[in-house]
Symmetry: C2
């Protein structure tokens, strides 16, 4: 049996605050009884919620703070709130008091604070945000979902390795398959950075199964464990997919309530439709790691509920369990070494 | 009654060739009896198809050519096929023999040929491809869907005016609403070009109702008639939305065939589900204009059927009817004039 894991939680982050974070932790504890939680936030509110969760209350600690980061705070303001629940939860990871942290707070603030507090891994300029993407079979990992705008070829290569590290942790696969998102209009097949990254990923001896270019409509076909894209297009793809899914769900609802016959039909099909609803449930795939930092930080959706929050904790737990960062550091080092050699060879030739 | 419209068709373009193009034109003729079609392609095959469509055969002309552009041809190869059905159909527009053209052929080849044959409008560096996007209410227009990678602020401004011109033609609205697609992570709210375009669109006296930034998940909410985005992210958003829609449709199919009860339910709900299917039918929204050229060229999806092809013809017809290009040229001229003055003012101050 593994040693107890400690997960620090920004109890004040997200729309629900402790009202979501505490019951979420209780659900996660049910799945992972070896976890100890460290709550940062308003003690009275956290204790109030813990009253309903005896097992969780027994093994948790609370560190009180009055300071919180608001959803509308600018990252530049937020990083000055060093005593905030978000900062303290990150600091617990930095100090080794926690194995990972989860926050449902402001994404920009969390990224800015995480960079300051945990620092980026050697050779990494900018961390990325990854996420689980629903497909026709099991989910895949997509990154960057918007931590950065634009990406150099080297950064796209870094993303491939970061995503592969996450895939190893979550999908239990040793050599994850990776695709590079690109657009299909022949004339202009991809920007220079994407083409260069493609060349590197194809040639290099990386511990991934590189599948080449894929297009946006193939993400959902589960062609690869990991899909790499720069953050502007990645965020847009994510948001557009979310919007389309909501729109389709509304269409289906309308179709099945459009007449009495349709409603009776929906009753007969209730079990199938309920499975459909589960399948489309975004809470199951909540939890996006910030990758490229010296520590594991998970962003939970701000509007999620306890079930969704528990999913985010679970992502963190699995990444801790599989020792993601050590392996990733070695992989990044090898990749950067290859680039360095190639550059040196180019200069002397 | 308006004078007869002439529409030139690349009869060999697309997966189905004349087998789709001719019946598509027949359907379009049913809606618009004042149209005369000009088919470019293999005379025997076009005549063979026309045999089943007497009314169309009476009013159409065929210009024979053996030369075709293949789906896998590179644009640089394709532009050398000056006698091809695609080129000749474009040339008919250039020479004033047709009011617009439609092709279901290779997108990259069509764009490259259109630039050479029709030339870009004054002040326009790069044409864009626009498309109709399904929303919860009527469709909206999104551009650029991938003609160009990246866009300057000025080009994004041009796209806004091009999209507005198309909206006037298709939605019968004098002052179309326009949104600029951006990403929502606070820290890095958009790239410089998008921010600059936002400032210009907000301030300038353009004949549009500018609604500011919108995010990808809002496209389907019908917040604006026109959504502007650079082509890499735009193509990715389009493809991702298509993929998500297909994926959801597969989920729904599975849910409604998962058991006997579900199948009985689907029978009861048949009418509602059939309306749902119509609503999700991509053929209804087929037809993406290439905008920013001295002539109207419509790209049809390569894999569509006669119904979808007729939709693409209809887009061209409506754009011809509303004299899109004249008005657009004036709007672009005014916009570029404003930019020029602003630049001059900046230099002298």
């Amino acid at each position: 049996m593994a040693r107890p894991r400690t997960i620090s939680l920004d109890a004040m982050g997200g729309d629900g605050g402790p009202g979501v974070v505490v019951p979420g932790a209780a659900l996660a504890l049910g799945q992972h009884p070896d976890v100890e939680f460290l709550f940062f936030g308003d003690r009275a509110r956290v204790e109030g919620e813990l009253a309903a969760h005896a097992a969780l209350a027994r093994t948790s600690r609370i560190v009180h703070t009055d300071i919180t980061v608001a959803m509308q705070d600018k990252p530049s303001q937020a990083v000055r709130r060093r005593g905030s629940s978000m900062w303290l939860a990150l600091e617990a990871v930095h100090k080794g008091e926690a194995d990972c942290m989860v926050s449902a707070g402001n994404t920009g603030a969390l990224m800015a604070m995480a960079k300051l507090c945990l620092r980026t891994m050697p050779g990494i300029e900018r961390p990325a945000i990854a996420g689980l993407w629903p497909t026709i079979s099991k989910p895949c990992i997509v990154l960057d979902l918007g931590a950065n705008i634009g990406a150099t070829a080297r950064q796209l290569g870094d993303y491939a390795l970061m995503g592969a590290a996450m895939a190893r942790a979550l999908f239990n696969v040793e050599r994850p398959s990776v695709g590079l998102l690109n657009i299909g209009v022949e004339e202009i097949k991809g920007i220079e950075e994407v083409r260069q990254a493609h060349a590197w990923l194809k040639q290099s001896e990386l511990p991934i199964d590189y599948r080449g270019f894929i297009e946006g409509d193939q993400i959902g076909q589960r062609i690869a464990d990991v899909v790499v894209v720069e953050g502007f297009a990645g965020n847009m793809a994510l948001k557009t997919a979310e919007g389309t899914a909501k729109q389709m769900a509304a269409y289906v609802r309308e179709a099945l309530t459009s007449s009495w016959a349709a409603r009776i039909g929906a009753l007969f099909a209730a079990r199938g439709l309920s499975a459909l609803k589960d399948r489309m449930d975004p809470r199951r795939l909540n939890g996006g790691p910030l990758l490229g930092l010296n520590g594991i930080a998970i962003k939970s959706h701000g509007g999620t509920d306890a079930f969704g929050y528990a999913s985010a904790i679970n992502v963190g737990y699995q990444m801790v369990e599989s020792n993601v960062l050590e392996r990733l550091a070695a992989d990044l080092d090898a990749f950067h070494g290859t680039l360095h050699e190639a550059e040196a060879a180019r200069k002397t030739s």
